[in-house]
Symmetry: C2
Subunit: 198 residues, 2 copies
């Protein structure tokens, strides 16, 4: 069973987080959400606090993020969701940046969506095709081959644009981890309107 | 500012809950999530426990559901999300059934999605157009004018099908509460792929 580590912080876009996590679980991917504390925050507790989403939904993460626990030998996929404040915390974390590089170096998948794509820049990834939320395009278009496709796959780096592209983003991750048949099996019961994502 | 009460229980489909809540907040609707305890559960605490979603995401509700606090004089919209177990708890609650009737009698909106549409049956609503998740169609098609459209508006009752139709469901609620212009303003930054929901 493939395993995914989905990062979350205060200010994470809760639709992007939830759609990705839930769709992967439906595909049989074992998911763990890992809370990235803002710089200077008290991270001494043994259990993570609620992450307050960008639109006020409080989500209890499964674990604290730690560079020792969220490694490519334990997970097949690392996901960085958007939400301006949450993405700033996650993309600004040096341990996250280090892990993004390690996952890609070891051929594991990394997903970034919306403002989460800023982690490609902060991690210093080489120039390659990428997309993001339009609001952060100007911060990425020089360093990357910027695309406006809903989902961009570049090797094992998968990027996407916003809440409205999270279903195709998550289903693309399902297809890469579990195959095209599983993607269809998962999409069917989700009842997409005709001519959308199925 | 319109106000929405979004019900949640253990087993609620977390994408349907989160997309609806978040999209309404983006439109300027004041949202409160209200936890419906399963029958026989201890509801004596003053603050609700987290609701464990159908795919394992734990969400902290804003308040306990109570027939005194979730009334049509306080809210313009009542939402029943899906997820088989959560919908069974919510649709099976006599106080919820009573409130569904009161909201509709007073011309307020009621949204039901996925298995949440079973609340139309348990509340004893009159025969009218309605949709639901295909898995519960057989329980509804005799009592209602069953439709397979992604979103069905019947007076102030709005029904929909599953996670894949939650964006058009939520955007329809935005349009009904706040107008078509607000729907467009909200949909734009969500970056839907061309030819989907915007």
């Amino acid at each position: 069973m493939p395993k995914a580590c989905i990062l979350i912080a205060d200010g994470t876009e809760e639709m992007e987080f939830t759609i990705t996590y839930d769709t992967l679980v439906r595909a049989g991917v074992s998911c763990a959400s890992a809370y990235v504390a803002a710089e200077g925050a008290d991270a001494s507790s043994t259990s993570p606090p609620f992450a307050r989403g960008s639109r006020g939904i409080n989500i209890l993460p499964d674990m604290f993020f730690s560079p020792q626990d969220c490694t490519p030998d334990k997970f097949d996929l690392l996901v960085v969701p958007g939400g301006a404040t949450g993405a700033a915390t996650i993309a600004g974390s040096a341990p996250v940046q280090h892990l993004v590089r390690r996952f890609l170096e070891e051929g594991k998948f990394v997903g970034m969506i919306c403002a989460g794509s800023l982690a490609a820049k902060t991690a210093g990834l080489p120039k390659q095709p990428l997309t993001s939320h339009p609001s952060v395009k100007s911060e990425l278009e020089k360093e990357f081959e910027y695309s406006e496709e809903p989902v961009v796959v570049s090797g094992t780096l998968v990027t996407s644009r916003g809440p409205g592209t999270t279903f195709p983003f998550a289903l693309t991750l399902v297809e890469l981890l579990c195959g095209a048949d599983r993607r269809s099996e998962v999409a069917g019961p989700m009842v997409f309107p005709p001519h959308t994502f199925a």
